[in-house]
């Protein structure tokens, strides 16, 4: 068919609405508008990220637990904090998600097709708007919320769950858990049962079958799960804004505030560029691992 011209308007569209906007972020990051209205080149945004007020680094309990005080620029601290909570949430998603994916896959394998319902039940909450799902946690976690009511009803002390690392982390785990479970599930469900049986026949016990066969085979799923959880966790501004009560700063809502409230577009764009480069680089790193693993993917 000689209809290739029909694809060209789309290319033009993508240049205008995808490529140009990204270049504009870079443009705004490196320029500033002077009082007389002229636009000049500047590195001020990046200088602010690396300079600025110095605060003690609040990372992995460095200060509170180990007593080490490391002074870093404000924005770097926010970045470190976001990285920490995104990584911890990703790990929590993996820790809770892997067994769930494993059990779901095992049920599906056992009842051949009958377990689609369980998987569907698992995905349905994800179809609710992320905004609403996050909002729902407010009712559960607030000081006089349902969790605290239940806790005191069974004689346990009430806790402070909102506006802190726990609340934000929980919000992330809740929102992104399915992104971890689904890729692992889809890899596990395709694992050839005869491979597992072969390992058993050759004398491997349950633990060895898992560590030497099942786990390596599920690596691609784990990697894409990590990828799919880490990226939104690193860039969200909704979760810290809603569950953080306006005081909790992560890189996502710092950028959002710089654009929408402080209107310092140079710094905001510089931060966006740093974030984008970081996220894309970590994604590249993870997918490279995925490809390197393809040798073991023959069985999938």
């Amino acid at each position: 068919m000689k209809l290739r011209w029909m694809a060209y308007p789309y290319v033009l569209w993508m240049v205008v609405f995808t490529i140009a906007p990204l270049l504009l972020v870079a443009w705004f990051a490196f320029t500033t508008v002077q009082p007389d209205g002229s636009t000049v080149f500047t590195l001020l945004g990046f200088e602010k990220i690396l300079g600025g007020d110095r605060v003690p680094l609040d990372l992995l309990g460095l200060q509170k637990i180990f007593g080490i005080t490391l002074e870093v620029p404000l924005y770097l601290n926010v970045f470190a904090k976001s990285l920490q909570i995104a990584l911890l949430s990703t790990l929590a998603c993996l820790a809770f998600g892997y067994p769930a994916a494993y059990l779901l896959a095992r049920r599906a394998a056992r009842q051949r097709g009958g377990s689609d319902l369980l998987l569907l039940l698992f995905v349905i909450p994800m179809w609710m708007n992320a905004l609403l799902r996050t909002y729902a946690w407010l009712a559960l976690l607030e000081p006089n919320g349902i969790v605290n009511t239940v806790l005191s009803a069974i004689g346990l002390p009430r806790g402070q769950f909102l506006y802190n690392d726990f609340g934000i982390g929980l919000g992330m785990v809740y929102n992104y858990l399915p992104f971890m479970v689904l890729p692992i599930y889809s890899v596990l469900v395709k694992v050839d049962r005869s491979v597992i049986e072969a390992a058993e026949d050759l004398g491997a016990d349950r633990r060895r079958v898992f560590t030497r066969v099942t786990l390596p085979l599920s690596m691609p799923g784990i990697m894409s799960g990590i990828n799919m959880v880490f990226m939104p966790a690193m860039t969200t501004f909704l979760i810290p804004n809603l569950l953080g009560g306006g005081r909790y700063m992560l890189i996502g809502n710092v950028i959002e505030r710089q654009y929408m409230i402080a209107r310092d577009w140079t710094t905001a764009s510089a931060l966006s560029i740093v974030l984008l480069v970081f996220v894309l680089a970590s994604m590249k790193f993870l997918t490279r691992y995925e490809k390197g693993n393809e040798g073991g993917g023959v069985l999938l």
Partner: protein, 274 residues
């Protein structure tokens, strides 16, 4: 073999059952709470004060919500239509491209999918500001079309690959004009993909918050933005009522998409089986 498998895992059955139950409780608790408290007579997110439908009634007389509902629906409908139209045309064109150019276009399509929503939203906002567009309805619509097109393409492309290329030529040989061949031969063949694209993009548009947040201006907001500002201000059970309704609508739409794609899958399997 089956016995061995079961034996290997017996003993931990209750633990596994409990674990899955715990996960499902975790997943459903917020949703259930949200829906249950939409019928709460007390104006609280977490203290029950009896059954009422008042919030639903208030919802349908709240002009702010009604107007953002209108914006949401119009933007979803228009962006779904335009994105699917562009995607359909593009997919037909893609078929004629060489391998390299095709790969280039596909990589281009993955850029917005891979980009974090935050960056997509910001970059589009900067584009509109740079072009001195007033942020408002038009920019919101353009942004939605922009993030919808790649998903529409990915829905239609598989159908396009199944298409027999000779069909178009045959239609031309039999005297059809190119437009006739397109509308009466190719379009019906890829129709299932087109319909899936329509429903999917409509749903994505309704569901979007982040990109809308950055690309709509003062005075124009869709439901997600209205809910966000309501949620940050105070406790308002109308949000719960609205959430419950939106959940049901999106659920219904996605079940239809799911059902359709499953049916397609079964059909193509049957055809292969023949």
């Amino acid at each position: 073999m089956k016995k061995g498998f079961r034996a290997a895992f017996s003993g931990g059955g209750t633990v596994r059952g409990l674990y899955l139950a715990f996960i499902f409780l975790f997943l459903y608790a917020p949703v259930v709470v949200l829906v249950v408290f939409s019928f709460n007579a007390a104006k609280s997110r977490s203290v029950w004060g009896g059954f009422t439908l008042e919030w639903y009634r208030k919802l349908f007389t709240n002009t702010e919500i009604l107007s953002s509902l209108r914006v949401t629906l119009i933007v979803a409908l228009l962006s779904a239509l335009v994105a699917t139209l562009i995607a359909t045309v593009t997919c037909i064109g893609l078929d004629g491209l060489g391998k390299r150019r095709r790969a280039f276009v596909m990589n281009l399509s993955y850029v917005p999918i891979v980009n974090p929503d935050l960056v997509t939203g910001i970059s589009l906002m900067l584009l509109f500001v740079f072009m001195q567009f007033q942020l408002g309805f038009v920019t919101l619509l353009l942004a939605h079309i922009a993030f919808n097109i790649p998903y529409a393409i990915l829905s239609i492309l598989p159908k396009m690959k199944q298409l027999d290329r000779n069909l178009y030529e045959a239609a031309l040989d039999l005297g059809a004009k190119p437009t006739q061949a397109m509308v009466r031969v190719i379009l019906p063949e890829i129709m299932p993909g087109v319909v899936t694209a329509l429903i999917l993009t409509f749903t994505l548009s309704i569901d979007d918050f982040v990109i809308s947040y950055f690309t709509s201006g003062a005075g124009v907001s869709n439901l997600a933005i209205t809910i966000y500002s309501m949620a940050r201000k105070s406790v308002n059970p109308q949000i719960n009522a609205l959430s419950a309704l939106m959940f049901v609508v999106v659920l219904a739409l996605l079940l239809i998409v799911n059902y359709r794609s499953n049916r397609e899958l079964r059909k193509s399997k049957e055809e292969k089986g023949r």
